[in-house]
């Protein structure tokens, strides 16, 4: 026990004296602090944007409600009233907002949130004509990625671990103190393990401090369980890198070779393996959605009675309750025909879009098979999952939008097919978007933690076996 304490205090002293390691530590803390600021400023920007859009939509909604009290004896009043009361006009002009709000932890790992649209303004037009069109963004920025805490932990933390531990044993060799250590009653394995333990504690403390700082900035919405799992994922990931370094050290190479080996492993796990998987498994550049371009097209149909009756026939097959007993043409007939056309067309389009989503999920699943050899990507995925910034959340949002769009369609079309005008009461009960994403998958996270820890244990066992062999025996 006493030796352990001596090693601890000695390591601390040596670290404080080593300018390289101190620079690495300070740099890491500074970058970590910047990443927390960056992540939260990005989310704040998104929240402000959402607030701005919500305010504008709210304002326009008020105008619609006020239109029912307008003086219809004036041209402007009549126009305002008709815009609000005519379902054929309101269906394409009265806007609804669907938002994917950021979770409290989104600033820690922005994930795919910069890539996907986090709000949509919808009306009763074809859903895909509204959602498939692109957004304003800077491809250069998207390609560079985000400087968030997840980036610092996934990319830079391993480098800090390498910088702190590459000369754990070789420094003793270089200084000639290794033979002195060998004379103690403790084995080489125990001493190296204790030195690594010291660095591990230091790194975990750093990770904890940075994460707690980020949690504090996250505000009151932060939940305990995702925060705890965040720390657990980072601990498991750091543990894996210490296990890798332990294994490298166990080969008893010189300082430079240890450093190079650490860097080579970092390059493999952070660059080469993910890049290879993206190229060979995921077909990264391969575009699956371009065939869906037609869905963006403006929907138009012949404004002829026959065509209208045909499409209404198809529509009533889905909604028989709406089929009128009296088949005489009402003033809304042509509008009903177009709405029916939109709905029938949407059902056809949905099949194509669903197929695309299925194939995207299949590809994602295929990439997932390689998680074991790509722990960095896997850890990033887990952090994104916890922060609600992964593809899974995007799919949930898209599913919620589809459901909401159905309500939007029926908001004006209920009145249209009922051959009546919209009323202020209808607007008071206009559908509101509620998005309750599923909580994070405990199973997914536990499996991830199990895999990361499993690899670490295997590496530690291997390293331990190597270190059990004495220098002289070799």
């Amino acid at each position: 026990m006493k030796l352990y304490k001596i090693i601890f205090s000695n390591e601390l002293r040596l670290m404080l004296r080593s300018s390289t390691q101190m620079i690495a530590l300070v740099l890491f803390v500074c970058l970590g602090a910047y990443s927390i600021y960056y992540g939260h400023s990005e989310i704040r920007k998104q929240e402000n944007r959402l607030q701005g859009v919500a305010d504008t939509i709210q304002k326009s909604r008020r105008h619609y409600l006020e239109a029912f009290k307008a003086d219809t004896s004036t041209a402007a009043g009549k126009y305002a009233y008709e815009s609000a009361a005519m379902p054929s006009l309101a269906r394409f002009n009265y806007n609804f907002l669907a938002i994917n709000p950021p979770t409290a932890m989104a600033g820690l790992s922005l994930g795919q949130r910069d890539l996907y649209r986090y709000y949509y303004i919808l009306n009763a037009q074809n859903l895909y004509a509204q959602t498939l069109k692109g957004d304003i963004d800077n491809p250069f920025k998207l390609s560079a990625g985000n400087f968030d805490l997840a980036f610092v932990c996934i990319y830079l933390l391993p480098l800090l671990i390498i910088a702190l531990s590459f000369d754990v044993l070789s420094a003793e060799q270089d200084l000639g103190t290794l033979s002195l250590i060998s004379t103690t009653s403790f084995s080489l394995k125990q001493i190296v393990a204790q030195k690594i333990r010291f660095r591990c504690l230091l790194v975990l403390l750093l990770v904890m401090v940075l994460s707690l700082g980020a949690f504090l900035c996250s505000g009151p919405g932060l939940q305990l369980l995702p925060a705890v799992f965040w720390l657990m994922v980072l601990f498991a990931y750091s543990g894996l890198w210490f296990a890798i370094m332990y294994l490298i050290i166990s080969f008893k190479m010189n300082t430079s070779l240890n450093a190079i080996s650490g860097i080579v492993v970092w390059i493999c796990l952070l660059i080469v393996v993910p890049a290879l998987i993206n190229l060979l498994v995921a077909n990264g550049q391969k575009q699956q959605a371009s065939s869906l371009a037609s869905l963006m097209r403006s929907r138009n149909m012949p404004e002829k009675e026959d065509a209208m009756r045909e499409v209404l026939g198809d529509f009533y097959a889905y909604y028989p309750a709406l089929k009128p007993i009296d088949t005489t043409k009402t003033p809304f007939f042509f509008f009903q025909g177009y709405s029916a056309f939109l709905m029938v067309d949407q059902m056809k389009s949905k099949k194509l879009v669903d197929e695309l989503y299925r194939s995207v999920k299949r590809r994602d699943q295929k990439v997932g098979y390689f998680n074991l050899i790509s722990p960095a990507v896997y850890s990033q995925e887990l952090l994104n999952h916890l922060s609600g910034t992964d593809m899974d959340r995007e799919f949930q949002f898209k599913a919620a939008i589809e459901k909401y769009h159905q309500k939007i369609f029926w908001f004006s079309n209920q009145a249209l097919f009922g051959n009546r005008m919209l009323r202020a009461k209808d607007y008071a009960h206009a559908p509101r978007f509620s998005f309750k994403p599923a909580p994070f998958s405990m199973e997914h996270l536990l499996l991830g933690l199990f895999q990361l820890s499993g690899i670490s244990i295997c590496l530690l066992f291997w390293g331990g076996k190597n270190l059990s062999v004495d220098f002289n025996e070799e």
Partner: protein, 468 residues
Amino acid sequence: MIGILIKKELLVIFRNRSFLLTALIIQLLLFTAAAGGYRVFQESKAERLAAEKEKREQWLHQDPKHPHIAAHFGNFAYMPKTGLSLFDYGLDAFTGTVVYLEPHKQNEFSFKPAEEQNASLRFGELSLAMILQLLFPLLIIFNCFTAFSKERSGGTIQLLYSQGVSFRQLYLGKFLACCIWILLLVLPAFILLLLTQIWIKSAALELLRLLLLSTFYLFYLFLVAAVTLLVSAYSKNAKPAILTMIGIWLGFMVLVPKWSASAGDNLYPLPSKYDFLQAIRRDIHQGIDGHNAKGTRAEQLKTQLLQKYHVDTVSKLPFNFEGYVMQAGEAYSSRVYDKHFSKLQSRLQQQNQIGLWCSLIDPFMAIKNISMGLCGTDYGTHLDFQRQAENYRRFFVRSMNQDMEEHSKLGDWEYKVKKDTYAKIPAFHYVQRTIGQSLAPYLLGFCSLGLWLLVMVLLVEIYNKQSK
């Protein structure tokens, strides 16, 4: 003397088993990247051509309808992949691949390949460019960082100096030896690329681009070797040399590019699409509504035309007034779009300018930009494509409106174009930029490479004087 030094260095490096192993790995990666890039290129090309053909057929075979309604059916512009895009994917995963072209609206690009992927794509994709930009410098660093420290610890450096060899000569010998093995290792990458270009029947212009690419990459890699050798010379032993070089690599290749992109976004934020479209709508609202021939601005136009043609009613005009108003509205909205889009483009330019300035000190960013520019996968090419697609949109909408103006009568919305009118609108074809246009935005990058060369020569001279 330099010849002997080169020979000795080459002998040492080719006897080094770990070098041979890493060189082999790099070659395997290069081959995989070339094969994968070729496959992706062919698949994407086939898919794009099929989609383009399908959309063209849809346009040609639409029912006879009113020209303006036909224009609303719209067209699509698909971004073609250049032959060299299999070398450097650039920003292709993050720029949309297709844009829907319709009257009254200038749409954004849709379908970014990255949207269909999870976070793994953000880790990058293996390409020939990625290997040469990121991994090859590491191979150079790992094999050169001990160049001088080894001589120093082995005492051979003093021996060489005592024989009259100057530091300049020693450095040059080591540097030229490095250049030779770099050339030998990089050559297969460019031969592979050349073969793929011949295979896909790339134009002669692409071959010139390839030649330039290989020249710039070699220059970049030689620069990395020069820096590593110099750091090795200035370092007391191998440890600080490798730590410095890893630090430089990490800073230049990971941190600076990421930071510059974030800083650009923070300093010059982009508007939301909603705000952007609202602003456009507001401006258009003040102008001519193409669908409303009775609006105030349309009434003013009517008065002008009646005066010009000396008639008292629009029905006596030699053309359909509604068609004329439609096109006037389109021209007005185009002016509004031009104003707002040019504002947006200059904002994006401001964001990316930080990256361009960073490339002055960061040769990695410099070569990255130059490489993307030459391969046609940079933002400049995307913008150029956007411009050409927008011109095409205006052309086909104008043609359809003109048909309405010339062939239909006032109030006649039953008029239908003949089927062959659709065929008169040619399919969209993107004309690639010239090499000069592709490289013009990256002049700072060239300055960077030149600047580093100058600094290297200067530092070698300083060390040479100190060592005497």
